[in-house]
């Protein structure tokens, strides 16, 4: 995206609020308008002034450019289009805005109090409240031998795609708007832009070029897409906006930080009886995925292990902070940190090996959870056992000598959800007369390799090579309906759609071949571009011959549509909350080995074994790549990555201060692929995009405990916290002696 340019293209820049909460009294753009090279300056007055929702039906609370109030540092106020980037930047600094500062609130627990400043009109700052109960937690706790209550919290982390958000918008006088954007969901984005601009969605076309990483961060519309479109409408010229790295850090969506109060009741033998969680999510200034992600966290209460009684309460609270969004794991990393930390605390208390504790409470395929999840395939136990063996768990565990090993597990969707009411993908496959194949899919490749996986699925089905497949994606005009790249769903849903389309094309091809070979289509097979009779392989035709017959003699293309609308997961029952949330369930277990310096608290992660059940590895190398990359993010987000805010201002918006792991920071990472063969996945496959980062941080936290006996319950896991905890531990012991 960053490399693209169009003739007569202008560059846009956005004026952002320097304050966390302020009323806009006046905006004077006169100086900026007069500056040489400036082609347009826009404020809310140049927009339809439509409040829209990034995630309907959540309350519409955002405008591309704010009119009356700014609600976080970085909120969009005005924008400029100019001949070059520097001129645009210069012009931005010439816009004068009078603000009236308002009291701000940054802590969601503070924001919940009645006297807290109100962020949207006069309504409560609690943007959403969720509650779900299954079984009877009261009874569960009553029957429990031991009850554990802990408070955990997670940090502010962000995607750090190597390419920052960028877009080019080009509005034609015909009314048609084309937006090239670093999106991972072109099929959503065109509708989102239309909604923000108040225009018909058919007037918007979105193209996703090659994109430098996504990880959930390119899921929803960034305001720059809408602003860029407005600037193009104003000037009639193509306009490009690219975030600086600082803008990326301070204004793009981040992982929702959560406070998690977790209560678990167990029997003496380690059997889980009841689990209750109250989660307070920092929604930030605007609505987006807060409720969906908080709800996704809640799903884990009875999904990670067999728990017969659960209660979940979630508060999604507006603050004057940068707002959150989707990020690899979607609520799971937060709650998994809490659950998996507490599992170790329970095991320790009961004198049970944490690994046995997990195996004891785990389930297998065929299990149905109390809240309705139906497990079609499950390799969790295999992940735990294989991982433990490779990590040498028994040998390394429990030495308390400064080195330690810890583990954590995860469960995730292996194929998206019905968060939008449906979970479908469509694909078209055409066998061209030169034996190549065109696959048109609504999937989105942002580096995770979905194009390759889809090509493999089609190639396998049609008996051609992967190199023969041309994968056409990323154009909202051309590409069919698909929810896009999220929820680890593309291998499963887009893959199934591609498989169905390929199977239909294969059927058409075999039908023609059967006439030519005078055999039943059912008796034919295709391999390496040869169609042959299975019983007598000598009776064969080259695929080229069959296609020549079809195209040249009959004038009939071999082309097919595949539509996959999974009828496996179910929508949540509005009254009971009962649902089968995912069409397939992906599992995994991480084992982390650490060394802790008792004088400094420094944590060195030495090894990570990451065992993942992905159904079937369609492309083992790519699957390993997904896991290894996710582990790096899990390590970073658990330990070295955290945005630091002071009064809503990010004080570390650079790679100098926000540390993503480099090649020398990474421990040895060993992935293990466990194939449980899901009955509904294409060739048995389930998604593996997100799972890899989910259990890394709790595995490290548990390893720290194993190494030196201190428990860190708030992310990130820093040396400073470990040292403080070690001191407390020591002081505690000294006091006990007196």
């Amino acid at each position: 995206m960053a490399d693209m340019k169009l003739p007569r293209m202008l560059f846009g820049k956005i004026l952002r609020s320097p304050y966390p909460h302020a009323r806009i009294l006046n905006i004077d753009t006169s100086k900026a308008r007069k500056a040489t090279g400036v082609k347009a300056v826009i404020t809310a007055n140049d927009t339809p002034k439509l409040k829209f929702s990034l995630h309907p039906p959540l309350r519409a609370d955002k405008m591309p450019l704010e009119e009356f109030k700014v609600r976080y540092v970085g909120d969009e106020v005005a924008a400029v289009a100019a001949a070059d980037e520097n001129t645009a930047q210069e012009a931005i600094s010439l816009i004068e805005v009078d603000y009236e500062l308002l009291p701000a609130v940054f802590d969601p627990e503070e924001a919940m109090k009645p006297e807290a400043p109100k962020i949207h009109d006069d309504e409560s700052n609690v943007a959403s409240y969720l509650v779900r109960q299954f079984g009877d937690v009261g009874l569960g706790f009553k029957e429990a031998d031991r009850i554990f209550e802990n408070r955990f919290s997670t940090s502010r982390v962000t995607h750090c795609c190597m390419e920052t958000h960028g877009c080019i918008a080009f509005f034609l006088a015909s009314g048609r708007l084309t937006v090239w954007s670093t999106t991972q969901t072109p099929n959503f984005l065109y509708k989102e832009i239309a909604r923000a601009l108040g225009i018909a969605s058919r007037m918007v076309k979105v193209i996703k070029p090659f994109v430098g990483g996504a990880f959930g961060g390119r899921r929803g519309m960034d305001m720059q897409d809408a602003i860029c479109a407005l600037l193009s409408m104003k000037t009639g010229r193509p306009v490009k906006i690219c975030n600086t790295r600082e803008e990326e850090f301070t204004t793009s969506r981040l992982r929702y930080p959560m406070v998690i109060k977790l209560k678990t009741g167990v029997k003496k033998d380690g059997t889980l009886l009841a689990r209750q969680a109250t989660v307070i999510t920092d929604n930030g200034a605007y609505n987006y995925k807060g409720p969906a992600i908080t709800g996704a966290a809640g799903l884990r209460l009875d999904l990670m292990y067999k728990v017969p009684n659960t209660k979940f309460e979630g508060y999604v609270v507006y603050t004057n902070n940068q707002y959150g969004g989707a990020f690899r794991g979607f609520g799971s990393p937060q709650i998994t940190f809490a659950i998996e930390s507490e599992m170790d605390m329970i095991a320790e208390d009961l004198g049970i090996d944490p690994l046995e504790m997990r195996l004891k409470n785990s389930y297998s395929a065929g299990y149905q959870t109390i809240s309705g999840a139906k497990i079609t395939s499950c390799g969790l136990q295999e992940c735990i056992k294989k991982g433990a063996e490779l990590a040498r768990w028994r040998e390394k565990r429990g030495r308390r000598d400064g080195r330690g090993i810890g583990m954590a597990t995860l469960v995730h969707t292996g194929g998206g959800t019905k968060d939008y009411g449906y979970n479908c993908s469509e694909a078209f496959v055409r066998l061209n007369d030169d034996c190549t194949v065109s696959l048109i899919s609504g999937a989105s490749d942002t580096g995770q390799g979905s194009d390759t996986i889809l090509a493999q699925i089609v190639a396998e089905t049609l008996g051609v090579g992967v190199e023969d497949i041309e994968v056409i994606t990323g154009d909202s005009d051309i590409c069919p309906l698909d929810l896009g790249a999220w929820g680890s769903r593309q291998t499963f849903t887009s893959g199934n759609a591609a498989r169905i389309a390929a199977e239909e094309a294969r059927r058409q091809l075999l039908e023609i071949a059967s006439e030519m070979l005078e055999a039943n289509p059912g008796d034919l097979d295709i391999r390496a571009k040869k169609v042959f009779v299975k019983e007598t392989p000598d009776r064969k035709l080259s695929m080229a011959e069959v296609l020549a017959q079809s195209y040249s003699k009959k004038g009939r293309p071999v082309a097919a549509r595949g539509f996959f609308d999974e009828q496996i997961s179910t929508n949540r029952d509005l009254h009971t909350g009962f649902s089968n949330p995912f069409p397939a369930y992906a599992f995994g277990a991480h084992f982390a080995e650490v060394e802790v310096d008792r004088e400094t608290g420094e944590i060195r992660v030495l090894n990570i074994v990451a065992a993942h059940d992905l159904g079937r590895a369609i492309n083992p190398m790519a699957a390993e790549g997904q896991i290894e990359g996710a582990v790096a993010q899990g390590l970073g987000t658990g330990m070295t990555e955290y945005l630091v805010w002071e009064e809503g201002q990010t004080i570390n918006p650079t790679f100098i201060e926000y540390k993503i792991p480099s090649a020398i920071d990474m421990p040895n990472v060993k992935p293990i692929l466990v194939e449980s063969i899901d009955p509904n996945g294409p060739f048995g496959a389930k998604g593996v995009g997100e799972p890899g980062l989910v259990p890394t941080a709790p595995a490290i936290a548990n390893a720290i405990y194993d190494a030196v006996g201190v428990r860190i319950k708030d992310l990130p896991l820093t040396s400073e916290k470990v040292l403080n905890a070690l001191r407390e531990l020591k002081n505690g012991k000294e006091e006990a002696l007196i």
Partner: protein, 174 residues
């Protein structure tokens, strides 16, 4: 003030007129349309903008274009000799060392600078050499494997045909 400068990039001479404070990265991308080197952090931390200047890996976002006059500049566009991919490029593809690809040009050039100086590096040397190239997708495992494999392949090919190897090494330095 604008200054006329001549840059030698991938063996070709270019004349451009620039503000002396313009970085080499901006000149490569904007004036020469060599977009292989990427902008990502702008502070010389992420390595996406890595190019070779006189054989050394540098962050082109922190080099003034004018300071690169008279030097041999190699960008990813100049790595293959036209007939095929450079062994490092091939190896990155074969080992799944590329996901989104944004860090790849810089990563490969850092690896090339390493292998030119130290043809058989060990894993720690490889990791140190690319520590200034951040990748958010791969976790570096496959990248390290790819560099190891390319190193082995290149050393083998020199052993088989020392004369052509000398030719190749010389041509990349010229």
């Amino acid at each position: 003030m604008r200054e006329k400068i001549e840059l030698k990039v991938n063996g070709d001479l270019y004349q451009v007129e620039v503000d002396p404070r313009k970085t080499l990265l901006s000149v490569l991308r904007e004036d020469l349309e060599l977009t292989g080197a990427k902008m990502s952090c702008g502070y010389g931390v992420c390595g996406s903008c890595t190019v070779l200047v006189d054989g050394k890996a540098v962050c082109s976002c922190l080099v003034l274009a004018t300071q690169a006059k008279g030097k041999e500049i190699v960008t990813i566009e100049g790595l293959s000799d036209g007939d095929g991919l450079h062994p490092l490029q091939e190896s990155f593809i074969d080992h799944g060392a590329i996901q989104c690809g944004y860090c790849t040009p810089g990563m490969i050039l850092s690896a090339k600078a390493l292998l030119d100086e130290n043809p058989s590096p060990d894993e720690y040397e490889i990791r140190s050499a690319i520590a200034g190239n951040l990748c958010r997708c791969t976790g570096y495992v496959k990248i390290v494997e790819a560099i190891k494999a390319a190193s082995a392949k290149m050393v083998r090919s020199w052993q088989i045909s020392p004369s052509s190897a000398a030719g190749r090494r010389k041509s990349t330095q010229d």
